[in-house]
């Protein structure tokens, strides 16, 4: 059948020339447009490393001096801190809450406010590893509340309950691998690349499973540092993390929690202002950074693919008349309608193959010079772990295959209905036109 297909294509090469040109153009445009979409989808689907669908974050406000109910005595540092921890404990009393933990500062997983990073060097080594910093309070079950995976060395419970010195840190597994080439880095030391003669050494107290700092980034190395002076974060950068029990619906929980929170979650001059589910937080941040390009590119891809489908359908349908005789002859020699349909679809498939290969080769020249689409995290830092998106060859081959499949699908869909109608011509009618 392949020989017949090729002969047919060559015979109508003028008509098929248009279609080939369009297919080449669409395959190049698809590459440009779908590459970022595929990379972003891939990155978003890497597991977060913690359990975001049972988490929500409460942000606090503080009464101003001219407000009703303001208590000047409660502005004292110690009293403020006390009120804060009281709120954290009180929130745990609400039905459906499994655990709560204080979250201070703007450096927490998926923080929309910004992030902080630094460079660490393992003791005895000279490689600088750029690493994200996050802060936590010891003795507050921070790690269990977030639901991180346990790493080697110490359990989450032990990590939360440890008496941290100012230079003790907790690393994620990928950070430990990067710095010390092992998953169990308890007791190892590292330092920053500071100037001056005094180097502060940080001692690793334990590791947790790899996490994604932002939902649309790939996993990067993260270090958790204990907070020594929590007062400076109150009240604007102080939040309460709430972890729900299994089986509790987030929507229903929020619906019931909000009114209770507004009335009951107040201590001294601090009060709970808003509550947001972690999923909503992630969605809002993604909306800001990665969703516009995603939507834009998907819309363009859809546009070009629909046009392609219409074009293919149009070309093949309008060939019905001219090809009647030929189909009539084939049918009268014993071909089945299914055979005809397969023949026509085969023509479309061969055209697509040739056009895509050409288009991909052209794009390869551009890609070799400019590089393929990168993840958003690579603008800042190197990611650990090997994903196929980071390897040029694998990335190019896999995305090419995906695009080829999409194009084949669209072309075959466009050909199918005209093919069916052509194949159902009664042979006598077709031959009568001779």
């Amino acid at each position: 059948m392949l020989k017949l297909i090729l002969k047919n294509l060559w015979a109508r090469r003028r008509r098929n020339g248009w279609l080939l040109a369009e297919l080449v153009l669409v395959s190049i445009i698809s590459w440009v447009v779908l590459d970022p979409v595929i990379v972003v989808t891939h990155d978003r689907n890497i597991p977060l490393g913690y359990d975001a669908d049972r988490l929500c974050l409460v942000s606090l406000g503080a009464l101003q001096p001219n407000a009703q109910g303001y208590d000047p005595a409660a502005q004292d540092s110690a009293v403020l801190l006390d009120s804060y921890f009281n709120l954290v404990r009180h929130a745990a009393d609400f039905e459906g809450v499994e655990a709560t933990a204080p979250v201070l500062g703007f450096c927490y997983p998926n923080s929309p406010q910004g992030n902080s990073n630094t460079q660490l060097i393992a003791e005895g080594d000279s490689v600088k590893v750029t690493i994200m910093q996050m802060y936590f309070m010891p003795h507050t079950r921070f790690f269990e509340a977030y639901g991180f995976k346990e790493g080697e060395g110490r359990t989450l419970r032990q990590l939360s309950d440890l008496n941290y010195g100012p230079n003790d840190i907790v690393l994620t597994e990928n950070a430990a691998e990067r710095l010390f080439h092992t998953g169990n880095a308890v007791g190892r030391r590292c330092h920053t690349s500071g100037r001056g003669s005094d180097t502060t050494f940080y001692q690793v107290a334990g590791t947790i499973g790899t996490i994604k700092a932002y939902s649309f980034w790939r996993p990067v190395p993260v270090v958790f540092r204990p907070i020594s002076s929590p007062r400076e974060y109150l009240p604007d950068d102080a939040r309460i993390l709430i972890r729900l029990k299994e089986g509790v619906s987030m929507q229903r929980f929020l619906h019931e929690f909000r009114p209770w929170m507004v009335k009951e979650l107040r201590r001294g001059n601090l009060f709970a202002r808003t509550v947001l589910s972690y999923e909503k937080l992630i969605e809002e941040h993604e909306n800001y950074e990665s969703t516009p390009i995603y939507r834009r590119n998907l819309a363009m891809a859809l546009f070009f693919l629909i046009n392609l489908c219409l074009g293919v359908a149009g070309t093949f349908w309008l060939q019905t008349r001219p090809r009647r005789e030929e189909i009539g002859v084939m049918l009268s020699f014993g071909a089945t309608p299914g055979h005809i349909v397969r023949l026509l679809m085969g023509e479309g498939a061969v055209l697509t193959f040739i056009a895509s290969l050409t288009g991909f080769l052209i794009y390869l020249q551009y890609a070799l010079k400019e590089g393929l689409s990168m993840s958003m995290s690579l603008c800042w830092m190197e990611n650990t772990d090997n994903y196929w998106v980071s390897d040029f060859t694998l990335h190019f081959l896999i995305v090419s295959c995906i695009i080829l499949l999409i194009l084949l699908l669209v072309v075959l869909a466009g050909i199918y209905i005209p093919a069916r109608s052509i194949s159902r011509i009664p042979p006598t009618e077709a031959l009568r036109d001779e």
């Binding site: 008509r15 248009w18 279609l19 040109a21 369009e22 153009l25 669409v26 445009i29 406000g61 009464l63 101003q64 001219n66 407000a67 009703q68 909000r258 009114p259 929170m261 507004v262 009335k263 202002r273 808003t274 809002e284 909306n287 800001y288 950074e289 969703t291 516009p292 939507r295 834009r296 819309a299 546009f303 070009f304 629909i306 046009n307 392609l308 219409l310 074009g311 359908a313 149009g314 070309t315 349908w317 309008l318 060939q319 008349r321 001219p322």
Partner: protein
Amino acid sequence: MIRIYLKQAWELLKQNKLFSTLYIAGTGLAIAMTMIMAMIYYVKLAPVYPEVNRQNTLYLTGSRFEKGPEGNHQVVRWAVSYKALQEWFYPMKNALAVSAKLANGDWSENSYIQPADQSGDFHVNVRLTDPAFFRIYAFRFLEGKPFTDADLSSGICTAVITDELARRLFGTTEGVVGQTFCLNYTDFRVCGVVRSASYLTSKSYAQLYVPYSVVSDYREPKYGAPFLGAFSVTFLVENGEQGVALRNELKDIVRRENLANPDDWQVSFWEQPTTHLVSIFQEYVSEELDVWATVRQFLLVLLVLLLVPALNLSGMIASRMEGRLPEMGVRKSFGAGRGALLSQVMWENLLLTLLGGVLGLLLAWVVLYAGREWVFTVLDDWADAVPEGVEVRVAGEMLFAPLVFLAALLLCVLLNLLSALLPAWNSLRKPIVSSLNEKR
């Protein structure tokens, strides 16, 4: 003659339903995409309530101050201070109105209203500005009037609220003037209620408008530079020439200031105040806008969006022309010139393209309305999600403007030319005898 062509075209359309459907669908999609892009930019550029004076509005949003010798060089960038407003901007001669907006972090980003029924604070978008703001933007006052210069200088807590906020706070938009509400734990008195601007007109949108003197330190400059602060300025001029005169006036002020204090902070405003048109396409006020690069980029996008459908449609028309060769042969043998035949084919195609254009326009409207929360920012690099509780209003004047229809018509004609001219011309070159002999 054209009427006959159109009647004939209508008949052909009904006879070749398949071809017509495919053609109209293809055209409709292309027109829809280009119209969506066109309307997104229309909303950003054209006069829309309340920014009806967009072609005469200029903005100044950034400044750069530097001082010090090599080795101790300091550079700070932000906007302008109250002192700069008093000494430089408010007294400017080449402007009809000058308004300043304070971008103080706490008040403009972190303002919460404490509702009377204790149902929990909610966040509001506050604009800290002056009475001239209401002279530049043509807000419709449903009740009351804007706050006055006296209000501004006394620092009184008064506010102009939108009808949406009035309904949320008081349940009604009538009899609201004079009532109070609690914003950031301070009691504010309502002095006017306006019809809300759309979220899409970001330069004038807010849920309430408050004099900037409520912020306690509004007179203080920042970072030790006396003219540096957080105020950005908007100017209303009479026409383009006054705009140029305004820019020159500012350049004079800057030059005098820099010459008078050579050892102190040197100020630079680059090419500001910028016109509205330039501000939409300019990413940073410090960079000069490369007009040709922007135009080239848009033309390229337009070309790509129209070219692929045009290729499709060309293919389809070429097939159709094959079937009409006998008809053309007959007309040629009766003396029709190539020009007449070509014009007939083009008019027939124009009818189909116009039908497709109407379909495309309808599709564009549906998409823009249904996706109004995100479609208008889909071409920007960074997009803020619409805050909770805020309704994005797409007014009729944004979607149904005459310019929009004109643009759609022009696009249709362009698409028609791109797709039909070449195939039609090609097929009409065949000699009469072979056309007549063509069986199909």
